[in-house]
C-alpha cells in the first residue's frame, strides 16, 4: 500500500480539495477536518509519486490552502511523518503513537490512554518510535494495556489493515458551490479586479467538476454588495446557461467577462462587492475529459465549445431582438429546441450554428440551425456528404428573409428600389405543400437579366394578378 497524506495546519476547504483529488484515485479518506488520505498503489503506472506531489501542490494553490504532503507505506505512518517531519520512521517522536493508534479520526479515549502510555515510556527513558519498536512484546503486555501490543504490531509489521474497505467512506458535497469573502482592502467595484477573484473560484469549481468526470452546462454567479443606505438591492446574480458544455476555466472566463462587462455597463455596481459565489446548477457527463497525450482533440473540443458559447452569448442577444432571419422562420416548430439561451428570459436562436438540411417542400424551411459539439462535427465529416440526394433544380445561394414583391411590366421586373431587364426565363418548377399541412403553391423561375444578375422568382399559380412576381433569392 502507498498512501499520500495531506495534512492541513489551518482550517481549509478539505472536503472540496478531497473531491478534486478524485481525478487521481478513487480511494480517498478524510481525518476529521485535518488531513486527506489518498491510496495510490495501483496508480504507479499512471503517474510517479513526484509528479503527483507537484500536481497536489498546484491543486492546493488553486484552493489557496497549505498542507504538508507525505507519502508512506501506511496510513498512520504517512500521517505521522506529515505531522513530525523526520527522514526515517525510527526517528519519529513517541507522540506519533497517537496518530498510529487512530489515523482516521481523533478518538479522545484512545488518545488519553496512549498519552498515559507515552508518559510512562518517557519515564523509562524512551524517546523515539525506533526505541519503542525494539521493545519485546512480552514486556509490553505485562506493563501496558493491550493497545500497546496493537501499536507495536502495527509499527513492527508495518501495516494498519490490508483491507481498503475499512477506510471510512468519503462522501463529497452534493452541490458544487464556491464562494469567497473579500477583505476590506480587497473590496472593489470595477470588473477587472473582480475577474481575478472570479477566476479563482471558477477554477476551483472546474477542478471539482473535472474530478467528478463532468462538464459545466449551467451556472450562476452572485455578488453580495456592501450594505449602504443608498444601495437598494445588495445582491446581483447572473445565470450562465451554456449552449455547449465547458470543462475548463479558460473557455468560461471570456464568457463571464463579456456578460459582466455588458451588464455592468448597463447597470453599474452601487457599492463594493463583499462576497462572491459561484454555483454549478447543471452538469453533463464529460466523456472526453481525460486528455490524450498524442492528440489535440480535447483541446480543440474545448476551444470549439468556448468559441460557440462566446459567439452565442454576445451575438445571441441581438438575434433575439432583430427581425427573424430566413433560416429561423424556416425552422418547423419542434424541429429545433428554441430555448432560453442566456437566462434573460429571451427566447433566442443561436447566432453561431451548424446548418442541417430538413425535408420540407418550402425552400425557406429546408434547413435548420443546430449547435453541436466538435465530436459530432467530426463524425459527420467522416460520413462524408451530408445533404440532399433528391435531384432538384439548383437553388440560389442567397435567399431573402421574406419574398419581395416585384411588378412585371412587359420585359422588366420592377422592385421598390431596383429594376431588371429580363433576358430569359427558366422554369417553372412547381412547389406545392400538403393540403393537410401548410398549403403552398408556387411556380419558381430562374430569371437571367441584362446586367448579369440571376434572380430566383416565383408566381402564385392561378393568381388573379398575373403581373405579381415575388423575388425570393439571387444566384450570386
Amino acid at each position: 500500500m502507498r498512501v499520500v497524506c495531506l495534512l492541513f495546519s489551518k482550517p481549509s476547504p478539505i472536503s472540496e480539495i478531497a473531491e478534486a483529488c478524485y481525478r487521481w484515485t478513487p480511494q480517498v479518506a478524510l481525518r476529521s477536518e485535518e488531513a486527506i488520505f489518498l491510496e495510490i498503489e495501483k496508480c504507479h503506472r499512471l503517474y510517479s509519486e513526484h509528479a503527483l506531489t507537484l500536481r497536489l501542490q498546484a491543486l492546493l494553490k488553486r484552493f489557496n490552502a497549505k498542507a504538508r504532503i507525505t507519502i508512506a507505506d501506511d496510513v498512520f505512518m504517512s500521517l505521522a511523518q506529515a505531522r513530525y517531519p523526520r527522514s526515517e520512521k525510527e526517528l519519529l517522536p513517541l507522540e506519533a503513537l497517537c496518530d498510529v493508534a487512530s489515523p482516521f479520526k481523533r478518538d479522545q479515549d484512545i488518545e488519553k490512554k496512549v498519552l498515559t502510555m507515552i508518559e510512562e515510556l518517557r519515564r523509562l527513558g524512551l524517546k523515539t518510535l525506533g526505541e519503542f519498536i525494539k521493545l519485546s512484546p512480552k514486556e509490553l503486555s505485562s506493563r501496558f494495556h493491550y493497545q500497546s501490543l496493537e501499536l507495536h504490531r502495527r509499527l513492527y509489521n508495518g501495516s494498519f489493515d490490508e483491507s481498503l474497505s475499512l477506510w471510512p467512506r468519503f462522501i463529497p458535497p452534493e452541490r458544487i458551490c464556491e464562494s469567497v469573502s473579500l477583505e476590506y482592502a480587497e473590496k472593489c467595484q470595477s470588473l477587472e479586479p473582480l475577474l481575478f477573484v472570479i477566476k479563482k473560484i471558477v477554477n476551483r469549481a472546474m477542478a471539482r467538476l473535472t474530478a467528478r468526470g463532468e462538464r459545466l452546462s449551467k451556472a450562476s454567479l452572485h455578488f453580495e454588495l456592501e450594505k449602504l443606505s443608498t444601495v437598494k438591492c445588495t445582491r446581483r446574480s447572473w445565470v450562465f446557461d451554456l449552449p455547449l458544455s465547458q470543462g475548463a476555466v479558460t473557455g468560461l472566463l471570456p464568457l463571464i467577462r463579456e456578460r459582466l462587462s455588458f451588464e455592468l455597463e448597463r447597470e453599474s455596481l452601487m457599492s463594493s462587492v463583499e462576497r462572491l459565489q459561484f454555483d454549478v446548477l447543471e452538469t453533463v457527463p464529460g466523456q472526453y475529459f481525460q486528455r490524450h497525450f498524442f492528440s489535440k482533440k480535447e483541446e480543440e473540443q474545448e476551444a470549439w465549445n468556448s468559441l460557440i458559447i462566446r459567439l452565442c452569448e454576445k451575438l445571441g442577444r441581438k438575434v433575439a431582438a432583430a427581425p427573424v432571419p430566413a433560416g429561423v422562420t424556416a425552422a418547423p416548430s419542434g424541429s429545433m429546441a428554441v430555448r432560453d439561451w442566456y437566462g434573460h428570459g429571451e427566447a433566442g436562436v443561436p447566432a453561431a450554428f451548424i446548418a442541417e438540411n430538413v425535408e420540407h417542400y418550402k425552400p425557406e424551411k429546408a434547413w435548420r440551425r443546430t449547435v453541436i459539439e466538435r465530436q459530432s462535427v467530426e463524425k459527420n465529416l467522416d460520413i462524408g456528404f451530408v445533404g440532399v440526394d433528391i435531384p432538384l433544380p439548383d437553388r440560389p445561394l442567397r435567399l431573402l428573409n421574406k419574398p419581395e414583391l416585384l411588378i412585371k411590366k412587359e420585359n422588366t421586373l420592377v422592385a421598390a428600389d431596383a429594376r431588371w431587364e429580363i433576358l430569359d426565363w427558366e422554369g417553372p418548377e412547381r412547389l406545392s405543400g400538403e393540403w393537410w399541412g401548410e398549403e403552398l403553391s408556387r411556380d419558381y423561375f430562374r430569371v437571367g437579366t441584362k446586367n448579369g444578375e440571376q434572380l430566383w422568382v416565383f408566381r402564385v399559380p392561378n393568381s388573379e394578378v398575373t403581373s405579381e412576381v415575388y423575388l425570393h433569392g439571387y444566384f450570386d
Binding site: I308, L381, P396, L423, N451
Partner: protein
C-alpha cells in the same frame, strides 16, 4: 554548417551568399487548389472576391476542397445552406455566424480560435484599413485564408489578392480576373 564549410573552401562571393540567403528566407505560402484559379488561393492572406457570381465561385472552391473547415460570417444571414449542400459542400464543416454589428469582433474570435482553415466574411459594409490589417495579421499567424465577399473592390493594401468574377452569360461559365496580386 554547410554554408560555413562551403565559404571556407571555395571563397564564396557576396553575391553567392546573397542568393543563398534569398533561397533560405523565401517563404512559399501554402495554397488551396482551385480549378478556376490555377495558381491556387494562398493561405494566411486576405482574398477579396467581387462581382456577380462571387458566392457561386466560393462555394465551388469549398466543394473542391472538402477537407477545409470554414467559418461563414455575415451581418444578417442571406446565404442559403441548402443550396450549398446541393453544390456538394458538406454543411457539417461550416460554422455559420450571424454577427449583426459585431462582424469584426466575431471574425477576430474565429481567427484567434485557430479552429478553421478558412474564414468567409460576406458584408456590404466598407472595411476600414485598421481592421483589415488586424485581420491580415491574425490570418498570417494562424495560416488561415480569409475570403472577403464584397460588392466592390476595396483599395486597401492588406488585401493580398483581389479577384473579380465575370459570369459569362452566353456560355454559363465563370471567369476570374485578377485585379491585384501581391506575393
Amino acid at each position: 554548417m554547410k554554408v560555413l564549410s562551403r565559404t571556407s573552401r571555395h571563397q564564396t562571393t557576396v553575391e553567392d551568399l546573397r542568393e543563398l540567403c534569398r533561397k533560405t528566407t523565401r517563404l512559399e505560402r501554402e495554397k488551396y487548389d482551385f480549378s478556376l484559379h490555377p495558381k491556387g488561393f494562398p493561405r494566411g492572406v486576405l482574398i477579396e472576391l467581387t462581382g456577380l457570381g462571387k458566392t457561386e465561385v466560393l462555394v465551388q472552391f469549398l466543394a473542391e476542397n472538402p477537407k477545409l473547415r470554414v467559418a461563414w460570417i455575415e451581418e444578417s444571414l442571406t446565404i442559403y445552406p441548402y443550396a450549398m449542400a446541393q453544390r456538394g459542400v458538406s454543411l457539417a464543416r461550416l460554422l455559420f455566424i450571424e454577427a449583426h454589428q459585431e462582424v469584426f469582433w466575431a471574425t477576430f474570435q474565429v481567427l484567434r480560435s485557430h479552429l478553421f482553415d478558412c474564414v468567409v466574411l460576406s458584408s456590404k459594409r466598407n472595411f476600414d484599413e485598421k481592421n483589415l490589417r488586424r485581420m491580415q495579421l491574425e490570418a498570417e499567424k494562424g495560416n488561415i485564408g480569409v475570403f472577403l465577399l464584397t460588392e466592390s473592390i476595396h483599395k486597401a493594401w492588406p488585401i493580398a489578392l483581389q479577384l473579380k468574377v465575370n459570369r459569362e452569360i452566353c456560355s454559363q461559365g465563370t471567369k476570374l480576373d485578377v485585379i491585384r496580386e501581391r506575393t
